[in-house]
């Protein structure tokens, strides 16, 4: 009874597909090589083998990456979270205000702890509301989180009284500017978040269901997955990641600002996309997003380093986003035989 004709077998071109799959890595190496050569020729110094440069790039990467890591989960599940930038700002302001209040009463250590708690509780609210809007009330994620973009922006400025909120606390300062074995403390925090969420996405059922929901929501529902609850948790997770980003901002600059994350929103989405995620859902990885965030940071920092007008970075990042999507589409065609109908 075996009628085993091979129908619809994709043409397999493994080498090209592998190259396309690893293109973000290749591009990152290319960028580093480019700046390295430039630095040698122009300044007779190394770009890469320079502790200060490496630290700066790591810190440059950490902020958008923290937004992007939660965003990765949301995008894999087929959603998007436009509110992360101002959620981050809200956390930055609430942390600053709370430490200002609590530090004199509880001392520096407990004061900071109270501040973190306050900031996380504050960002849980937009996260939960986003989740509710998308999962229960069926508001399209783009619209629901765009609404929250405005609400979180307003709430952040109100909480800040319209200005930036300075805060001085030694523990907080160390978290923003200290180092641990030469690694900046914000980078250490980011690495921990990276490790935990990479594990969650790649090794747990929660991660697997995130992919399944993005691949075929109906299939996930029929498989008995509680898609609504899962979706709620996704937006909560995204808000928490943004909240951690906001806390790091306040620690670094000893001040909270409602607009702290505004320029990072698009960088975070760009990092996810450059990292290989599809905005239609179903694909993406934390490591990919990390590479995406690194590429953006290297472009931004490198252009400043070689003294190019900073506006070029927008152009460069814009081009990289589009190219990454194009490469990704050809990779899909190469690995699965799927071609876009046109």
């Amino acid at each position: 009874m075996s009628v085993t004709t091979e129908i619809g077998e994709p043409v397999s071109r493994p080498l090209l597909a592998a190259l396309a799959g690893a293109w973000a890595w290749i591009f990152l190496v290319f960028l580093l090589g480019f700046f390295e050569i430039w630095a040698r020729l122009a300044y007779h110094a190394s770009f890469v083998l320079n502790g200060f440069n490496l630290q700066s790039i790591a810190v440059f990467t950490a902020q958008p990456f923290l937004l992007a890591v939660g965003q990765t989960f949301v995008i894999i599940a087929g959603g998007i979270d436009l509110s992360v930038g101002f959620t981050m700002g809200l956390a930055a302001v609430i942390l600053a205000q709370a430490v200002r209040l609590a530090d004199p009463l509880l001392g520096p250590w407990l004061g900071v702890l109270a501040g973190f708690l306050a900031a996380l509780v504050a960002v849980a609210i937009p996260g939960l509301i986003n989740g509710l809007l998308v999962s229960r009330l069926k508001v399209p994620p783009f619209i629901g989180t765009l609404g929250m973009y405005g609400v979180a922006e307003g709430a952040g400025y109100l909480a800040a009284g319209g200005t930036t909120v300075p805060v001085s606390n030694p523990v907080l300062f160390w978290l923003g500017n200290g180092t641990l074995f030469g690694v900046p403390a914000p980078v250490v925090v980011t690495l921990v978040v990276l490790a935990v969420l990479h594990y969650v996405l790649s090794q747990t059922r929660y991660g697997q269901y995130t992919y399944a929901i993005g691949g075929n929501r109906q299939a996930a529902v029929r498989a008995g997955i509680d898609v609504r609850r899962h979706t709620e948790l996704l937006y909560l997770l995204s808000a928490f990641c943004a909240g951690i980003g906001g806390c790091i901002y306040t620690a670094r600059f000893s001040a909270g600002a409602a607009q702290a994350g505004e320029p990072l929103l698009l960088d975070s989405i760009a990092a996810v996309v450059i990292g290989g995620a599809s905005l239609f859902g179903g694909s993406g990885t934390i490591i990919g997003t990390l590479i995406g965030a690194l590429i953006i940071a290297v472009i931004q920092y490198g252009l400043v380093f070689i003294d190019v007008a900073p506006f070029w970075q927008f152009i460069a990042v814009g081009i990289v986003i589009v190219v990454s999507v194009l490469v990704d589409q050809s990779r899909l065609a190469l690995t699965s035989g799927v071609r876009t109908d046109e």
Binding site: S2, V3, T4, G215, N216, Q218, A219, R222
Partner: protein, 247 residues
């Protein structure tokens, strides 16, 4: 004859004023294939959805393994041993074969003896085993199922259903979207299920498929049972007449 594994009596389902199903009866035994035939809107999909818990019956009784049942949702039906394979197959295209077979019921292991983690190796191994029992050649199991052909995808969906030891498999138009060679493959799959002593209900508009594999044919017309025939004792003309109501 042995006791039927599934037995339906006087099943009635109305949507507002629409009588989608009126007093339908049938029995289904292990190792038997029942085809549901009928014109568009005859109530075939409604019948299987009412059995598998998507809809709740207004009247009538469903007995599964001798016990009256009423499934609150498809998940309850599946846990009891009735698997439904929908026409759109409900596969997550971006996941591989193992992940689809185990979707929602993934086995776990411990990474470095410490952290709970998905047991992907086991998922791949067991998926391979179950697909092999279907006698279908899948080139590779570690690729997203979107790379598979229609018949191969059907095999994955059927593999998922039988992996969990379902006793009753319900398929809504399993051959509808397929080319002729793939249709043959699915017909062969259904024969394999029969040989494995599963009870199968399948909906089809294709009389050739029905006569190729079904033991009995239940014809619905406007929600009512227009007739029930043993495949060996009827022919295409009679079935068509039952469907259109000129018998």
């Amino acid at each position: 004859m042995s006791e039927p594994v599934l037995s339906v009596r006087n099943l009635t389902k109305r949507f507002g004023g629409v009588h989608a199903l009126e007093g339908v009866d049938f029995d289904l035994h292990a190792g038997e294939v029942l085809a549901l035939a009928g014109d568009n809107g005859a109530g075939k999909s409604t019948l299987i959805k009412t059995i598998c818990g998507v809809h709740q019956a207004n009247e009538g009784e469903i007995r599964f393994r001798g016990q009256a049942v009423s499934f609150a949702n498809p998940r309850a039906a599946r846990e009891a041993g009735i698997e439904t394979i929908y026409q759109d197959l409900a596969l997550a295209d971006n996941l591989d074969v193992g992940a689809n077979v185990f979707l929602g019921r993934e086995p776990m292991t411990r990474r470095w003896g410490l952290f709970p983690a998905l047991d992907r190796a086991r998922m791949a191994r067991e998926a391979k085993r179950v697909i092999e029992t279907l006698d279908i050649a899948l080139p590779r199991l570690d690729r997203p199922v979107r790379a598979l052909s229609g018949g191969q995808r059907q095999a994955v969906a059927i593999g998922r259903a039988i992996f969990w030891n379902a006793e009753v498999l319900i398929m809504d138009e399993p051959t509808a979207a397929l080319g002729v060679p793939e249709q043959r493959k699915v017909v062969a799959l259904i024969r394999g299920l029969k040989a494995a002593n599963k009870a199968v209900i399948f909906i089809s508009h294709n009389l050739a498929d029905i006569f190729a594999v079904a033991d009995r044919i239940l014809v619905l017309r406007r929600g009512r049972k227009a007739g029930e025939r043993l495949t060996a004792e009827t022919n295409g003309d009679e079935v068509v007449k039952l469907m259109v109501g000129s018998a």
